[in-house]
């Protein structure tokens, strides 16, 4: 009958009107993102500030958008002097993390980094050969993870 569809629609919206809302009240209620979420790049480092990076440049070569810049120590090819991330160019594809042979790169779930200044989007994970505050601290293990398929 003409009009039954109209009434049905009113019933549905009426039910929803008195029912609960489904909003996350964002700044008051913050969701924790799943651990797999790729937000900002970070690096594992030991508690005493030693980065686990071995400056193999795999991530830099795999990055489609030239986000990562690594400066090697001229004396020690396995030591990075600086590791710069230009997150303003990053597309969060995860190729660096995935291809890292030593499993050193990780993504953090911290997403609140809106800024007014584009320069602040460039941050260093290694500065002067030491891990910066943007790194994630891990307890040192005996065997470096992922050594086996380093040349995969």
């Amino acid at each position: 009958m003409f009009g039954s569809g109209l009434l049905k629609g009113l019933r549905i919206t009426g039910k929803r009107m008195v029912g609960p809302t489904k909003c996350d009240m964002y700044p008051y209620h913050r969701r924790t993102l799943p651990t797999k979420s790729r937000i900002f790049l970070a690096m594992r480092a030991t508690p005493d500030g030693k980065p686990l990076c071995r400056a193999c440049l795999t991530c830099q070569q795999n990055c489609p958008d030239h986000v990562i810049r690594i400066e090697r120590d001229p004396d020690d090819r396995e030591r990075a002097v600086s590791f710069t991330v230009d997150s303003g160019r990053c597309t969060f594809c995860g190729l660096c993390e995935e291809n890292c042979p030593y499993d050193v790169l990780v993504f953090t779930q911290d997403f609140e980094r809106a800024t007014f200044d584009r320069d602040t989007l460039v941050y260093k994970l290694i500065d002067d050969g030491m891990a910066t505050g943007a790194c994630v601290t891990v307890e040192p293990t005996d065997e470096p993870a992922g050594e086996a398929d380093a040349d995969g």
Binding site: F2, G3, S4, G5, L6, K8, G9, R11, I12, T13, R16, K22, L33, P34, K36, S37, R38, N62, P64, T91, F92, C93, G94, L95, E98, N99, F107, G152
Partner: protein
Amino acid sequence: MIGDYPRLGQASADGATKSIVLNMGPQHPSMHGVLHLMVELSGETVLACRPVIGYLHRGIEKLFENRTYNQCIVLCDRLDYISQYSNEWAFCRAVEKLADIEVAKRAEWLRTMYAELVRITSHLLWWSSVGLDMGAWTPLIYAMVPREHLFDFYEATTGSRLMPNYLRFGGVKEDVDPAALEELHDWLGTEFFAHLDEFDGLLSGNEIFLSRQRGLAHMTTDQAVAWGVTGPMLRATGCDRDLRKDTPYGVYDRLEWQTMTDARGDALARYTVRMREMRESANMAMQCIERMPAGEVRTRLPKVLRPPAGEVYVRTESTRGELGIYLVSDGSVKPYRLRVHSPAFMNISSLPRLVPGAHINDFFAIFGGVDNVMAEIDR
């Protein structure tokens, strides 16, 4: 009328017909993306329409030529950003066919499942905008509830809501937690269908909606094929052409499902086909979860892929229709030429043929049924 269609200014060239040209978009409240439509009107009747595209052109086909194959997958997400997995799959299929890579068993099931889920999320967005185009605001919000649930699933399993970069040559990036799959299966079987029933009650049976959609912008199968229209728009003319059935890939030949068609050929048929496809896709995704074998999800490949020189054209049934990937390789680490034949591009090119004679009022009702994504049209 299969061949030519009225061009802009043609009807008023004789001087007898008075017309105005409206510029709809690229900034218009209900324009989907940055499409610019020049519409010639006589009163409220559309005489001709000329879509102006390219506002979102990023030169992706050129960028492909400057990236290694692995890096190209990232860009595939950006083609049609609301059916990401379909794009990735199309590209991966082309590379796998050219380089003769075998896909891991479980990965095939996962790929099929994600492709069907993304068909649902894409159609949900379409459903919300179909209502919005006709002035109903509520569908927009209601469709977001199940869509957000699926996006949460994407994020928990692939790491990103919109740009997953999940498929790899020979498989997928990583396996999915069985508990998450189980939960998704339960949700699809119960809550999701309840949502769809609600959608049907809200819009599909609404007399105002029906009177606006019925008989609007009619298209026959012959016309659709001649204009290059594919996907749900073609199936809404009664033609059951569907690449998932015609050239089975993934595990589509092992699932029990039907191609959804509707013989009426009008805007309502396009609506019905997509609504039915959502239910069928949910069924297919549930079958995938039930029957998925255990095992590896990724074939071991050399870190740097060099497909042999040659060329391949692979067509995939994406959410919007036939997504063709034409890959020419010269044996190096980067594609020599990668052409993306976009279904939305073909469908939107039929718009100037569909709208003449319609009211400006119906214009967006027709436009909504085309279901375009500017990112894929402009590339």
